[in-house]
């Protein structure tokens, strides 16, 4: 098997980060530590869910993306966006006006990614029917797929091996243009992402080496661009561009958008911490026998995506209203949106478990380390303060047995060692500076974190 380097969408802007620990506490996989006064992401553990972005009070997390200037490089400029984008605009901006604005921004082709949803629904139903493992879990949300790979390896075979709409969108757009005789190198495909997880997934699709997407645009950026050029009057009829859009497509990324196709034999859970609880239970066989489990990392599904501008509940409301104006997927002629080799394209590559939480690949060594963790824990205060730069005492103990931290990183232990004359004050100060940076504890409003107003 070829090992593809893990790509991450999220990086830390070390100039902005104040090391406030909010992200560290919010991370569902304990992937963040504070080192040198700033957040540090362990890329093996990160699932790109974006909870750190949400928790950050100073916008220190940066999502790698492209600017609209990239459009100039291509003759044909295709914008691929999920239907939630329309939902975040206030009602006075009709979808026609939004489409017009996109043309004005320089795109030549507009493509809502949920257009081939009818095909996906059929494929997912086929896979669920075929599988002996129940319930089957949706592969729609890339953060959830990654979470299962690392934290719930026993459940990887329950993931429906079908790709999500965003995986197919570019392929579709390219083939539709190819039918008109356009060459690949003349086409620039730009995916507009509602979240960091999809940024990472589109850039490096599961198991694939080259992405069909040429540029990644943050939905929040595009929102601002559209608001700049959007007209009060609708001048041209852009409705034909939406002729393959369906009610089912528009609802797909919202809570129960997928699950509703399995009626009552399904369940939908949103919010990654809620998902964790359900997956824990599923591992214990404590979930009733269902056919399909829809799991989405963000509350209110993609309407709650970290890169959306609008309020998530208003977005859901608008999309539900919008969907009623469109036909059901079953009434659309699938061949109109079909493209060559779509059957192969829909199949996801095998999803492998990733044992990133193992203490050691050698089981005896791992057992030894585990016992050591237990002994260390007796020494630690157990108040999970985060002052050591780890999210809780247990995580610190694990870092210690992995050689990534020391006993003296705990400020309470340090205090004890000082009292027992085991270390001197200079050493203690140096230890603190290692986690928090130099001069971090000076009385100075302008030092890093000096103006942190908290929540």
């Amino acid at each position: 098997m070829k090992v593809v380097e893990k790509y991450h969408a999220i990086t830390v802007d070390t100039d902005k980060c104040t090391g406030c620990t909010h992200c560290m506490k919010a991370c569902p996989t304990e992937a963040i530590r504070i080192r040198g006064g700033v957040a540090n992401i362990n890329s093996d553990r990160c699932v790109d869910c974006g909870n750190c972005l949400r928790a950050c009070p100073v916008d220190a997390f940066y999502v790698e993306h492209d600017s609209l200037e990239q459009l100039n490089k291509y003759k044909y400029r295709v914008v691929l966006f999920p239907a939630v984008m329309i939902g975040q605009f206030p009602e006075i901006y009709t979808e026609g006006k939004i489409y017009e604005a996109l043309l004005k921004l320089g795109f030549t082709h507009i493509f809502e990614v949920e257009q081939p949803i009818g095909m996906l629904i059929n494929e997912i139903k086929r896979e669920v029917e075929k599988s002996t493992r129940k319930p089957m879990i949706s592969s729609f949300c890339p953060a959830i797929v990654r979470l299962i790979q690392s934290r719930y390896p026993s459940l990887v075979d329950n993931i429906v091996p079908v790709k999500a709409p965003h995986d197919l969108a570019a392929c579709h757009a390219i083939e539709l243009l190819a039918k008109q005789g356009v060459k690949r190198e003349e086409i620039g495909t730009f995916y507009v992402s509602p979240c960091s997880a999809k940024m990472a997934a589109v850039k490096r699709p599961l198991g694939e080496e080259v992405s069909a997407v040429d540029g990644l645009i943050k939905m929040s950026d595009l929102y601002n661009h559209i608001m700049r050029v959007i007209d009060k009057e609708e001048k041209t009829d852009t409705a034909p561009l939406r002729k393959n859009l369906t009610l089912d497509g528009i609802l797909w990324s919202l809570p129960r958008g997928e699950a509703r196709h399995f009626k009552r034999n399904s369940m939908a859970v949103d919010g990654i911490h809620n998902v964790v609880k359900i997956l824990e239970r599923m591992e214990n066989d404590e979930v009733p026998v269902l056919d399909f489990l829809e799991l989405k990392s963000c509350h209110q599904g993609c309407a709650g995506g970290i890169l959306l501008t609008g309020n998530r509940f208003l977005t859901v409301e608008r999309l539900q209203k919008r969907s009623k104006r469109y036909p059901h997927a079953s009434s659309i002629d699938i061949s109109a949106v079909s493209c060559l080799g779509i059957k192969d394209k829909m199949k996801a590559n095998p999803i492998e478990p990733r044992y990133v939480f193992a203490l050691d690949t050698d089981r005896l060594k791992a057992l030894e380390k585990m016992q050591k963790v237990d002994r260390i824990l007796c020494q630690l205060p157990g108040i999970d303060c985060g002052s050591c730069g780890a999210p809780n005492c247990h995580a610190l103990a694990e870092d210690m047995v992995q050689g990534k931290a020391k006993m003296t990183d705990c400020i309470f232990l340090q205090n004890r060692y000082l009292n027992e004359n085991k270390i001197n004050i200079e050493k203690a100060t140096k230890n603190l500076e290692k986690a928090w940076g130099k001069n971090r504890f000076d009385a100075d409003c302008n030092r890093r974190g000096g103006r942190n107003e908290g929540f």
Partner: protein
């Protein structure tokens, strides 16, 4: 590595603590997920049994390099007919317990099915001791 868990009678919200903790540890030992699943199901069923049927008890688990041994002991009331209790669908659970979604008579058979070694000893008025082992 030895672990001990107290299991209180009647408190279903706490059933699952031991299995969650042990599950996390086995993952850190990189035990095959399929093996973990069997162990976790067995431990969870045993926990629920103590909560639902007994006056309380405890669980002792010992993890070594090749497997895990679990001993679950309660302080009564004991099982009258072990052979019957081992049959699928046989249950002495009260209506209240059944209403909570437990007591379907699958507990002991499920433990038996999901473990490599399994013994059960019980004395009416004294208590029940389950011992089971799964190899990694």
């Amino acid at each position: 590595m030895k672990l001990e868990f107290d299991i209180a009678s009647g408190d279903f919200s706490k059933a699952g603590r031991a299995s969650s903790r042990i599950k996390k540890m086995l993952k850190q030992l990189q035990v095959d997920p399929k093996v973990i699943k069997r162990i976790v199901v067995a431990i969870y069923e045993a926990e629920v049994n103590v909560v639902a049927h007994s006056v309380g008890g405890k669980m002792l688990a010992e993890i070594d390099g090749t497997g895990i041994t679990v001993v679950v002991q309660d302080n009564g009331p004991g099982i009258e007919d072990i052979e019957k209790a081992m049959q699928e669908g046989y249950s002495t659970a009260t209506k209240a317990v059944r209403n909570m979604g437990f007591g379907a008579g699958m507990g002991l058979p499920n433990i038996n099915r999901n473990t490599d070694e399994f013994t059960i000893e019980s004395e009416v008025g004294e208590g029940t001791v389950l011992t089971f082992r799964n190899n990694f």
